[in-house]
Symmetry: C2
Subunit: 300 residues, 2 copies
């Protein structure tokens, strides 16, 4: 499985709709034009039609098939986008040139009901790494800063649900810390142990959950062998769950910038997939994220 | 500068001495034999002479030039090694087949005076990464779990002192977190800001300290440019300081296992450099660590 497998052209009727509040940055516009050209999505662009079209013209790309909804205010544009998702008019929500706080605020606003009861939104990054034998999902590098245990459970559930939807029937989850033994000096080791035990009781459905693992044990059979760690997940993880945002974010950036990985990332846990790219993501990564979100979106 | 530049053959008189408590694992023995063959070090091996020689024979390597000190007990062997360092008989301390707790215990024991007043020991890993334009130092992936701010200052000082000794006259230090703006939600961002301000006041001598940075900004001029982060450290860091052990440890393992990096690591802050390899380090990494420790050691 590769990231490009999620770029799926569809006949007009089956194509899902992405809504973007304030799509007036050149990156988003090129991404939208590419998605239109490849026939993978329809678009509703909330913002100033003339401004957006002018930018597209300057970029030399065609976005004439997008539908426009007039709105100049950032916050109102985000709310309009959330409303369109609530009303079933759009199946993917993608951040445009708006403050993250306005965007997340609209998603979390109870009026739009985008977060089902008991759910938590979390970010999952998906990597295609030359030195690894399959796609690797990493969570949470972008949304939850220092989640309490209860929220780690939800973050893990979100990642497992995504992996299953991507076609990984029995996702192998590695709960990563710095060592393989639980120690009171590192609370994340005990939490990893707890997640593993919940997994053994079937709490995470089809997923196999193991840990605590050092990252080497999670992704290298050789490292696992040297350290004497058995188990089906060791050396063959599909999902890496980190204890907090910094370790996940550093791993994300190391994979992209120093391991030559291709990547996509989406925010899950809401009624529809959310695309919330980082500014320094490449154009390819932004397109991959949109394509993956479309593949994971509910039917239109 | 490459890791191999620290492999320095010396005439017998100038060669420094490495002491190893319980050098009875095949990896250590091959490493020792290689160091003897390349004339970079002398050795005092604390342990059972016959056992160690037998293992060397089975490995087909020659360690006949090592000096042996008889001792079978782990803890006593560690104390003997610390004593030999205290007495100036050895200039590098390398862990053999003993529990880390016994080894660290001897280092920290006040009787041997290996830790100067006000100092903290910390681990610095040094990487030669195909996708990065120079050596990159990462701290602390192995010793301090969740250091308080005062200890972060010491960890940074230790890394700067090492970098200067390695020949980096004005080390560029990036204080890494998940974002570039300070936010009360992420205390490591405020700490990064504080370290930066201390650096501006000259607290870290020749080092230039910047942050908070995402890891991408620290090591990629392109990412720094996209995010609008100026400064001399952005995109050109020599030293990465992480807020706690897990992010540093995950970065270490990502670089080694997925970024094809060569590595060495040493524990600094004591009177002599300490080699404390991870079991899953390659033989080359273990040798690099020993060679680097020897280059950084006080004169014999």
């Amino acid at each position: 499985m590769q990231l490009k497998d999620f770029v799926i052209p569809l006949p007009d009727k089956k194509r899902k709709t992405v809504v973007v509040p304030i799509a007036s940055d050149p990156d988003s516009i090129r991404c939208i034009a590419k998605a239109l050209e490849k026939k993978i999505a329809k678009f509703i662009l909330v913002g100033e039609k003339k401004k957006i079209r002018d930018i597209a013209a300057r970029q030399g790309v065609d976005i004439s098939r997008a539908v426009f909804v007039a709105e100049t205010d950032d916050q109102k544009a985000c709310c309009k986008a959330a409303e369109l998702v609530r009303d079933g008019r759009a199946q993917v929500l993608m951040k445009g040139l708006v403050q993250s706080s306005s965007f997340i605020g609209a998603i979390l606003h109870s009026e739009y009901g985008l977060i089902p009861p008991g759910m938590l939104i979390s970010c999952v990054a998906i990597f295609e790494i030359p030195a690894y034998h399959k796609l690797l999902l990493v969570t949470d590098p972008g949304v939850n800063i220092n989640p309490v245990f209860e929220n780690k459970v939800r973050i893990l559930q979100n990642a497992v649900a995504l992996a299953v939807k991507m076609g990984i029937q029995h996702p192998k989850v590695a709960c990563v810390s710095a060592v393989e033994k639980t120690t009171p000096k590192m609370p994340s080791t005990a939490e990893a142990q707890q997640l593993k035990e919940m997994g053994q009781k079937g709490f995470f459905g089809p997923a196999q959950v193991e840990g605590p693992f050092g990252f080497d044990v999670a992704i290298s059979g050789k490292a696992a062998g040297i350290k004497g760690i058995a188990g089906t997940v060791a050396g063959d993880a599909d999902i890496i769950i980190l204890p907090e945002i910094i370790s996940a974010n550093v791993l994300y950036k190391c994979l992209v910038w120093l391991s030559n990985a291709k990547n996509a990332s989406i925010v899950v846990g809401a009624k529809v997939p959310i695309v919330l790219n980082s500014r320094s993501d490449s154009e390819e990564a932004k397109f991959n994220s949109m394509a993956l979100a479309l593949s994971m979106a509910p039917e239109g």
